[in-house]
């Protein structure tokens, strides 16, 4: 079980409270986590990454065990702490604007 922590606006859109829990087959990666997330919550498609290119949206970041994984390859295996659910996979809205 993997815990995904979403920004508040995406929680509202997906109609969930708190962390989202998803199952991923095999070793989890950023790609497989997002695939599972979007399959469970289709309303999130296109809001975290582009529908077709699957590129991360510019003002969103991925944090894993207190590190910025935004520029990691989407196929990099996630650490055990995330795969076991001890740590969340965090989708964070960048602080932008002024």
């Amino acid at each position: 079980m993997i815990r995904v922590e979403l920004p508040q606006h995406l929680r509202t859109l997906a109609r969930v409270n708190g962390d989202v829990q998803i199952e991923v087959e095999g070793r989890a990666t950023i790609r497989s986590v997002l695939d599972a997330l979007e399959a469970a919550y289709p309303a999130l498609r296109g809001t975290i990454r582009d529908h077709d290119t699957l590129q991360r949206r510019a003002f969103l970041r991925f944090f894993v065990c207190a590190e910025d994984w935004s520029h990691e390859s989407p196929d990099t295996p996630l650490p055990e702490e995330v795969c076991s659910g001890r740590e969340p996979f965090m989708v964070i809205g960048a602080i932008a604007g002024g």
């Binding site: 920004p7 606006h9 995406l10 509202t12 859109l13 109609r15 979007e38 399959a39 469970a40 919550y41 289709p42 309303a43 999130l44 498609r45 296109g46 809001t47 975290i48 529908h51 077709d52 949206r57 003002f59 969103l60 809205g93 960048a94 932008a96």
Partner: protein
């Protein structure tokens, strides 16, 4: 007794304002979609309970919302958790993909950028949603970068009417200060094959075959900011309005100039007349008097506020040229708001109501065709769009 429902899109959410036919006391519902920009909401003429909304964010992109109960509850079409066994819901109501198929001719991939170079088309957001006049599940979307999309399944999925972008003048289209948006979609009630659209900054276009092919309809427009002032395309059209019972007559608020066409856009003539400034964004037509039109003059393209700090709607009862200022109930000092292009609408009650919203968060109503005005609300986030539904 008749009722009206005013759909207000703002920079931080949507609001729905409801009243009876007197339009004196109002119920305010909202904010809906709190924190998101709501570029536009519009109800289906075929089913007033069906409303579509364009919800956007710099962080999370485009969302399309749909209501089937007059705005009480909303859903993202195809985005729910319930799904048929063995079938993954599409979740594609916010997927706007430019057509690049070879079957559409030579789809253009670039337009003019601010520095004069060519730039690839990139989807940014939906500016305007125009539901079909007859089918609640059919809706058109005008998007930035400028293109026209259509859904025939209640906004579950979208397909570009690529004949517009592939018209051949695309490399000469360019973004205005607010982006290159397709902001006006007018469906001709007398001819289902005819649609008018307008783009900043490309101009107005018309199809007479249901969207397969398009032609620019900008003859008569004169834009001193263009190298060729009377070019076929490149004009910064801000909005176009039509009376449904006289679909051949169009009124246009251009960047500068108020224009009129009596032949479905084939030729335009200026009707700015005695306006104190002919810059502005909104234009609309009285529901029962096709020659009565409304604009809100704005000082200039660099000073987006009313002249002299006085918020004045101007009305012409002669289809242009002769204009009168309407001021009763509107602030006549220290007012420096703007009224954006999709932020004026009219109802169709016997005494026609006129509505407009401002970047200062006020929504004003005149229940008597513009003679008297009152704020419905005055502290909303900046208003991006106003539409009105007249309900039986």
């Amino acid at each position: 007794m008749s009722k009206v429902r005013v759909l207000v899109g703002t920079r931080k959410g949507a609001f729905i304002l409801s009243s009876d036919g007197k339009r004196q006391s109002w119920e305010v519902s909202g904010p809906h979609f709190t924190g998101w920009e709501i570029y536009h909401m519009k109800g289906s003429p075929a089913d007033p309970n069906r409303i579509y909304a364009s919800q956007t964010s710099g962080w999370f992109g485009q969302i399309i919302q749909r209501s089937s109960d007059g705005g009480k509850t909303w859903e993202t079409p195809g985005g729910g958790m319930s799904m048929a066994a063995g079938r993954m819901p599409a979740g594609e109501s916010n997927r706007f993909v430019y057509d690049t198929s070879s079957g559409t001719g030579n789809p253009l991939t670039t337009h003019q950028w601010y520095d004069g170079t060519q730039h690839p088309w990139e989807f940014k957001r939906v500016w305007h949603l125009e539901p079909s006049l007859t089918d609640p599940d059919t809706v058109y979307a005008g998007v930035e970068d400028a293109a026209l999309f259509r859904s025939t399944d209640g906004a579950h999925s979208w397909h570009e009417l690529s004949g517009l972008r592939g018209h051949g003048t695309g490399p000469k289209w360019q973004p205005g200060a607010g982006g290159m948006g397709l902001h006006t979609i007018i469906l001709d009630p007398s001819n289902p094959q005819r649609i008018f659209i307008a783009i900043s900054a490309a101009g107005a276009f018309r199809t007479d075959d249901g969207g397969e092919t398009w032609k620019p309809i900008n003859r008569g427009l004169k834009s001193p900011y263009l190298p060729d002032q009377t070019a076929e395309v490149g004009h910064c059209v801000h909005h176009v309005a039509m009376h449904p019972k006289r679909p051949g007559v169009l009124f246009m608020q251009k960047h500068w100039d108020v224009m009129r066409s009596d032949d479905a856009g084939d030729q335009w003539r200026e009707v700015s007349g005695n306006l104190p400034t002919d810059f502005g964004f909104v234009i609309d037509v009285h529901a029962h008097e096709p020659e009565t039109i409304y604009v809100v003059p704005i000082k200039s393209d660099s000073e987006h506020f009313p002249l002299e700090g006085k918020l004045r709607v101007y009305r012409s009862r002669s289809g242009g040229n002769e204009w009168e200022a309407l001021t009763k109930g509107l602030p006549q000092s220290n007012c420096y708001v703007n009224v954006l292009r999709d932020a004026m609408a009219v109802d169709s009650l016997d005494s026609c109501g006129i509505y407009f919203g401002t970047t200062g968060g006020q929504v004003y109503v005149s229940p008597d065709g513009g003679d008297n005005w009152a704020p419905i609300v005055h502290d909303l986030p900046g208003v991006l769009s106003v539409e009105v539904q007249t309900l039986a």
